[in-house]
């Protein structure tokens, strides 16, 4: 095997998981994490798309409970969806190695917020590694599987955009054959009823103490002795920016940032005259060190937002509190020529609907020329928010409310919204448009349970959206092609808004990018 490779951070996590003998990788696509599972499948591992991150983590926890190694992948906001099993997983603990690869998006290149996964790690009690390049993404993923088994705890690899989507050199080590530990019944450790959960919480805290001790003595930290009086404590990709911006500084890169190696950090602080903490995302390290009574300097407020880079790091170290305004300009993204969503937003715009939107390419319906979206909060929120608006508004306005959701997002988080719509029916009824383009387009054309294909493109059972919503008790289900039947879409929408019915209109037409890709595949 060629051991030297030029890999993205996502590919490096996949290679690390594969070489650690992972049995199964599962997750839901989300920029910048999506390519991890695709790479795992391409490298010869077993990977599958889950309907959402909660299911993915539960499946991975089941793999671990069965004594094998399991990987769950997601973007930062995906961890919100998987937070429920995460908090129990840390209490129950892992048997086979259980690793979550979670990708944060500081700067929001493709997300609705900048939340920092390390906050969850602290809250749920999961150890966190933060790689600074693909080599560390590989090594830390492998280490995380082994350590997860050692302490029987799920581990998190916190990635950020510039780790996921940067390519750097990776030297791969000999793959290992992970031990298949099998299943051993331990109901008092795995059944989280209060009587068993109380000791589980104590076990968790004691494990974390022991992990912290390991982190003090071993860790996967790196230290560079500088020539000046300045010290910098950093983690993740910021380490590279710091090394380039301040080669004269003494630098401590913290590899595992929860639980913190406090003794190691204190020893470093004792050896420098002043210390700046430079981290991407929330001031997690900074607050912990201040809470420990050390007078470290953090980032001025302006540097709290967005990604770091060499220039911004230099300004932070120099004590600047302002920075030149970011250059705007360039061309914003837009719905592709021939995109089926175009006709839908044309009609919604003409009819001056109140559109509760959702997460996907169709979020671009908010931009000119359509500007036909009023809200976009999180996966699946279109339906719940539409129902709430119907309850709040006078009838004539309530009849203008339409929920718009994509096919993959619908499978991820829309199903329970439909249940609520039927169960707690608004007086004016409601209208949901499912924009079914037969792919998860925005994140790069991934399959999902409604496409009839598995992650690797092979045939799979297909979730029929129309049958699902019919079975849930929706009054009227319409399926049409939005580009070829735009007039019919207009008529159906008019009718639905005027009635008190619960209507689901499935606008079904494949994504133009997916069709292009499939044609390429066929022609080789």
């Amino acid at each position: 095997m060629e051991t030297r490779a030029w890999l993205s951070g996502n590919e490096a996590v996949a290679a690390g998981a594969l070489d650690a003998g992972v049995t199964l990788g599962t997750g839901y696509p989300g920029t910048p994490s999506s390519e991890i599972l695709e790479a795992l499948a391409e490298f010869g591992g077993t990977a599958q798309w889950a309907p959402n991150e909660k299911v993915a983590l539960e499946v991975a926890l089941g793999v671990s409970t069965g004594g094998a190694r399991g990987l769950a992948t997601m973007k930062h906001v995906g961890l919100n969806v998987a937070a429920d099993p995460l908090f129990s997983a840390t209490h129950i603990g892992a048997t086979g190695g259980l690793v979550l690869a979670v990708a944060d998006d500081p700067g929001m290149a493709s997300s609705q917020n900048e939340q920092d996964t390390r906050r969850y790690a602290v809250a749920a009690g999961a150890p966190v590694f933060e790689p600074s390049d693909s080599q560390e993404a590989y090594a830390m993923t492998r280490a995380a599987f082994a350590l997860s088994e050692k302490w029987r705890l799920p581990f998190i690899i916190r990635l950020t955009t510039r780790i996921c989507h940067s390519r750097t050199l990776v030297e791969r080590d000999e793959p290992e054959r992970a031990p298949l530990l099998g299943y051993e019944r331990q109901i008092n450790e795995r059944v989280m009823v209060p009587a068993y959960a109380r000791p589980a919480h104590k076990r968790l805290r004691s494990k974390l103490q022991s992990v912290a001790e390991w982190n003090n003595l071993h860790g996967m930290h790196r230290y560079w002795k500088g020539t000046g009086s300045l010290g910098v404590i950093t983690s993740g990709v910021a380490t590279m920016h710091v090394r380039e911006a301040a080669p004269e500084a003494s630098i401590l890169q913290i590899g595992m940032t929860h639980p913190l190696p406090m003794r190691r950090i204190m020893a470093f602080l004792d050896g420098v005259e002043e210390c700046v903490v430079i981290e991407e995302g929330d001031p997690v390290l900074f607050e912990a060190l201040r809470a420990a009574g050390r007078p470290v300097r953090g980032r001025p407020d302006v540097f709290r937002f967005g990604e770091l880079n060499v220039d911004r790091v230099r300004r932070i170290i120099d004590g600047e509190t302002q920075e030149p305004p970011a250059e705007t300009g360039g061309k914003p993204p837009q719905l592709c020529p021939g995109c089926p969503h175009r006709a839908v937003f044309q009609v919604l715009s003409e009819k001056a609907c109140f559109v509760t939107g959702d997460i996907g390419c169709y979020s671009l319906g908010v931009l000119p020329p359509y500007e036909a979206m009023d809200t976009c909060a999180c996966m699946g929120a279109s339906i719940g928010m539409g129902l709430g608006m119907r309850r709040a508004l006078p009838d004539e306005d309530a009849r203008r409310v339409v929920s718009v959701i994509g096919d993959s997002t619908f499978v991820h988080s829309g199903l329970t919204g439909i249940v609520d719509m039927v169960y707690n029916r608004p007086r004016t009824g409601h209208v949901v448009l499912i924009l079914d383009n037969a792919t998860t387009a925005m994140t790069g054309l991934q399959e999902h349970p409604g496409t009839g294909r598995a992650l690797d493109g092979t045939p799979a059972p297909k979730l029929e959206l129309e049958r699902v919503v019919e079975a849930m008790g929706v009054d009227r289900v319409v399926i049409l092609n939005p580009s070829k039947e735009t007039d019919r879409l207009r008529d159906e929408l008019t009718r639905a808004l005027a009635s008190n019915e619960l209507t689901v209109i499935i606008t079904r037409q494949p994504c133009v990018l997916a069709m292009k890709r499939d044609r390429k595949k066929e022609s080789g």
């Binding site: 390049d133 989507h165 390519r167 920016h241 880079n309 061309k331 925005m442």
Partner: protein, 160 residues
Amino acid sequence: MTAAAITNIKVAGLGGQGVLTATDLIGEVAFRAGRDVKKAEVHGMSQRGGSIESDVRFGPAVLSPMIPEGTVDYGLVFDPGRVEYMKKRLRDEGVLIGPDAVDVGRLADRRSFNVAMLGVLSTHLPFECEFWLRVLRERLPSRLVEANEQAFSLGRSAKG
């Protein structure tokens, strides 16, 4: 290590123009030539026809994957709307390779425009032509090999 030992290349254009493929190919050539090399890009929303840019840095040892302000050695611009943007990022002696560096009318296949731009760039870099061609053949779709080779040599003979 001095920053001067690092070569910084930035490519800017629109989603769909092959910006990310171009930086992948540059990086692959540098990787095979034994250099340390890093590449940075952002996908997602920016793919949908919006402005997109990607950095490649190579040398004996590269730290940050992103090019610091005003230190671009070679700026490749695929979209005329981004020329001014790139000029501000070049070093004083930096080289701008704009979209007019290649006569699009002479391309066998317009989709190979990004490869033609690499042809122009290749005349500035210390890698053998045969190296580039091998990477193009191995990394791009086989049905486009001839078009890409034509585009690459068109770029190499252009005045960059």
